[in-house]
Structure formats: C-alpha cells, structure tokens
Symmetry: C2
Subunit: 159 residues, 2 copies
C-alpha cells in the first residue's frame, strides 16, 4: 500500500496543465471584463441578481441565496453591503425569524440584470460555445465531470 507511487508530472503533462489552467483563467477574466464594461456588473453581482430574479417574490433569505450560488455567508454579506450601496438590492426584515433578513431585488437591480443578460450570454456563445463546436463541447462536459469526481475518489484508479 506504499512505495514510490505518485511520481511527479512530466514536463509535457505540466505544460498541458499550465496551458489549460491559464486559458480557463483568461476566459473567465475576459468574460468578467466584458460584463463590467457593458453593464458595470461583476460576475458576483450577476450571480446574485440571477438568483434573485429566479426566486419566488424576487427575494431570498441570505442563507438560501448563499447556498444557491455556492458562497459562504460571510462573502455574501460583504457583497450585499456593496450591492445595497449601489441600489441593486435591499435588505428587509424577516417576518418568520427575527434574527434573519431578506434580500430583495430592487427595480434598479432587475433593470441592471436585464441590460447585462443578453450581451453576457452572447459573449459565452462567442468565446466558448462557438469556438468549441459540438464535439469539443461534449469533451468539455466530460472533462468537467472527470475533474469534479477526481478530487474525491483518490482510490478510484488504484490497480
């Protein structure tokens, strides 16, 4: 059960790794920068607004919102403070639980999301979907699936 397993990656493997991770990083950053310049929204803003847009009554408890977009509560809290300052959301007291709050989408927030949405989706298409084409899109999906599983099952490939 021991021994010299897990040799280091070869130069070639390392090259591919760097190439891959830098490319996805560049992609994310290009998307973010377009979103920013087209609508003054950060990816975080967009995620929050999207979740609220799809929520019952356009309002959510912070905890629920946080788990829906996969953030920690603290991160969300800080982000909401900044968004509230800009008028994109507002906080309301929660009837059911007086230590809780509710985050409500404002008209301004809804409008900002509306303006951002189409250009953003077009950018996803232009920078990701179209260049890849159907075959590589499937490959991307499979890659994601493999990588997502990879972190957990350290034994899966044991011989």
């Amino acid at each position: 059960m021991e021994g010299p397993r897990k040799a280091l990656p070869s130069t070639e493997e390392l090259r591919i790794w760097r190439d891959f991770i830098e490319t996805t990083e560049a992609l994310r950053s290009e998307l973010a920068s377009r979103l920013q310049s087209e609508s003054s929204l950060s990816p975080g803003d967009y995620a929050v607004l999207l979740a609220l847009r799809e929520a019952e009554g356009r309002r959510l408890r912070p905890s629920v919102l946080a788990s829906r977009i996969g953030w920690q509560r603290s991160r969300l809290s800080h982000h909401l403070r900044r968004m509230e300052r800009r008028g994109l959301v507002r906080r309301a007291e929660c009837a059911a639980d007086s230590r809780g709050a509710e985050v409500v989408l404002t008209g301004e927030g809804a409008e900002a999301f509306r303006r951002a949405s189409l250009p953003h989706l077009r950018a996803v298409r232009e920078l990701f979907v179209d260049p890849l084409g159907p075959a590589q899109l499937i490959a991307a999906e499979q890659l994601a699936t493999t990588l997502r599983a990879g972190g957990g099952n350290h034994q899966a490939e044991a011989l």
Copy 2:
C-alpha cells in the same frame, strides 16, 4: 453581413458552460488552498518564486519578471511589497538603470519554494493529470488551444 446571427446559447450549452467554468474554478481553488496550507504560499508567491528560481543570478528586473509571469507592473509591485515583508524576496538597486530596481530571491524564499514545490506538483498530478488519463489530457490540451484561439478570430467560423 448582418441578420439574426449569434443566437443565444441553448439551455444545454449554458449548463455545460457553467459546469465547466465552475469545475475549473474549484480546481484552481483546491490547488491554492493546498499550497497555502502546506507551505504558506499563495499561487502568486509561487509564480514569483519560480520565475526568480529560474532566472540568471536569481534576480530580475521587475518589468522583466512581470512580463515573464504575465502580470501588470502594478500588481507585481504590490505583491513584492508583501513578499518582501515576509522575507521571501528583497529589492536591490539596479546598477544599469538608476530608476530601476532588481528583485532578488532570498535564501528564505528559495527554501520556501523548495518546500512547496514537490507537494504542489504532486497535487497537480493527483487532481488533474491522474484523473484525466492520457486521452482526456490530450482533449484538455486541444480545448485550451481552441479556446485560446477563439477570442481573436471572430470570423474564423463564418460561413
């Protein structure tokens, strides 16, 4: 040359996009967190130390270092200030150009890099290379190539 080109991505395409980008983000963040806990180094620290390690005399002009790791000078300057405070690098005056500086790898910095390096490479193998296997590694490389090209040639796929 106009018309209703560039329709929006389909629900399925969007799902793959989100899956892909979130997975790569999770991967990056897992790597960063292991690096941090194993060696108290951030990915930025690692990149800087690696570049210095490989440089002639283990020193570089900030501009050169910045372009070598693909950062803006300002980002590097802020980062070097933090690294200098921790004793990982030090700044020296530059003989050839008196408005310039040189960043020098300290013994402590070299030692920190040495300690971080192997576990980091092992993590790359464990989280990326091994799960993918040879075939998907090639697929990843091709994906990166396609995506990297994708941003520039907006006409490439025009019919």
